[in-house]
Every structure is written in C-alpha cells, then in structure tokens.
Subunit: 145 residues, 2 copies
C-alpha cells in the first residue's frame, strides 16, 4: 500500500518516481518523528541502496514542496518530519532529546494578527518548547550540586 501511495504523491509533484524517493517517503512515514538525515539514511538503507547525497537532495525537495517539516536549533543536526494532517509543535527534552509532539496550536491567528500589524504576509511559524522530561528531571534533582 505504501509504494503505490508514494508513487502518486511524487508524480503529483511533477517529479520522477524513483525507488530512492519512494523509500525515503516510506522511511519518513514509518519513523513519523523529526529525524536526522543520518537516521533517515540508515532507515532507507535497510531496504534500498542509496547515497547520503540523494537523501539530502530529496529531503530538501520534500521540504520545499511542503511535504515535510525541517527543524533544528543551532549546533543541532537538521531534522525532517513528514507533515501530518494537522499543524504540530514539539516539546524537546534538553537532556535526553526525547521529542513529544503536541497537537493543537495557539498561534495561527496570533501570527496573522502580528503580520497585519507589522505589514508582513506571514506564511509560517515555528515553535518549540524545551524542558526536562520526567526521567531527566528526577536525575537532575539527584545530581544537582
């Protein structure tokens, strides 16, 4: 079922449906979390030969076509994630990097309103929250100086 879907998805973009592209989309779909290029590369390789530059190129393509998100703070590796139906944000653990996806976004109308005020056409926004997950927070308490 996967293969056929992705084939259509790619064709709709006016791009060639290559095994690598289908495999990348399949991997993204299976992972379903913001993953690094390397992680995606490894996941794809489990089933298909690919080069890392192909993965880079296609993730960038998917992002520019709006099929994935692309995130990553300074010093971190870039993470791509297949977009879900609904706009989402993430909550990231500062210690263990665990990522929780939060659905529901309080910013849609706010962003537009700010855009109006500042004479911008706002087309997107990004938001991430940082903190300590339960486990790491406990650990932190125990180790704190």
């Amino acid at each position: 079922m996967d293969a056929i879907d992705w084939d259509q998805t790619i064709r709709k973009l006016g791009k060639k449906s290559t095994p690598q592209r289908r495999a990348i989309l399949t991997a993204l779909s299976r992972m379903n979390r913001p993953a690094t290029v390397e992680e995606i590369f490894v996941a794809v390789r489990e089933h298909h030969e690919t080069s890392i530059s192909t993965v880079y190129r296609n993730l960038e393509l998917l992002f520019s076509e709006g099929l994935t998100t692309k995130q990553g703070f300074p010093g971190e590796k870039t993470r791509y994630c297949l977009k879900r139906e609904h706009h989402e944000h993430t909550l990231v653990c500062i210690d263990c990097q665990k990522i929780v996806t939060i659905t529901g976004c309080p910013l849609e109308s706010y962003a537009i309103e700010v855009g109006r005020r500042e004479n911008f056409v706002v087309v997107d926004h990004r938001m991430e929250m940082y903190g300590y997950c339960q486990q790491c927070n406990h650990l932190r308490g125990r180790l704190s100086k």
Copy 2:
C-alpha cells in the same frame, strides 16, 4: 557608561573582564538585534582587535550564562542577541531576511500547561514567524510566473 556596566556584568559571572568581552557586550548592546557571529565580529573590530574564535567563545559563554539568546534555523547562520527585559519573538522576511522583533508573547502560560500535561518541566520555548515583508511581497507579486 557602557564600559563600567559591562565590566561589572562580567565580574558577576565570575569571569575575567577582558577588553574583548567588554567590546562584544558593547557591540551586542549597540546592535540590539539578532546578529550573526560575523556581524558581531565586524562590529567589535571597528573598535578593538579580536579574533573570530574569541567572539565565538564569548558569545557561547554569554548564551550559556543566559545573557543572550541564540537562534537560527537549519541552513542559516546562528544569531545571538542580548536579552532584553522582556521575552521576545521575531518575524523574519523569507526573502530579504529582515527581522522584526515582536514584544509580547502568547505562549508563557500555554507552554507551562503543555508541560504539565506531558510531564515535562518546560523551561524555555522558541518561536519565530516567517513571511514576506511589504517590499518583498510587492516584488514577489510582480515577478510571479
């Protein structure tokens, strides 16, 4: 007035008050916007000799001590900005990279609430809005295929 203030600021951190550090803080204060390391380096150089690695090291120090913000999306250069009294967000033009600082944040309580729900201690969040500034939006209309 600058010099003396920054001298005290640095000493309070338990760090040595070097001319480079004072100059970097002065530059950040004058620029007062999220600036790239290179921009800050150039600004500092107008008045003092410095090496870029010193700028890097000290910006990182200031960030880890909580005196600056640090932002930058994948593929962009990292930007540092002296923290103001109030928490702020930015609105960035996708074309010309103009950055408008937005005061007022609708996320404070939201972040805490999400943290409670997900068992995270949320300590920070980041949000940026993207769009086209008036000028670039006009240009975009004119050039669109």
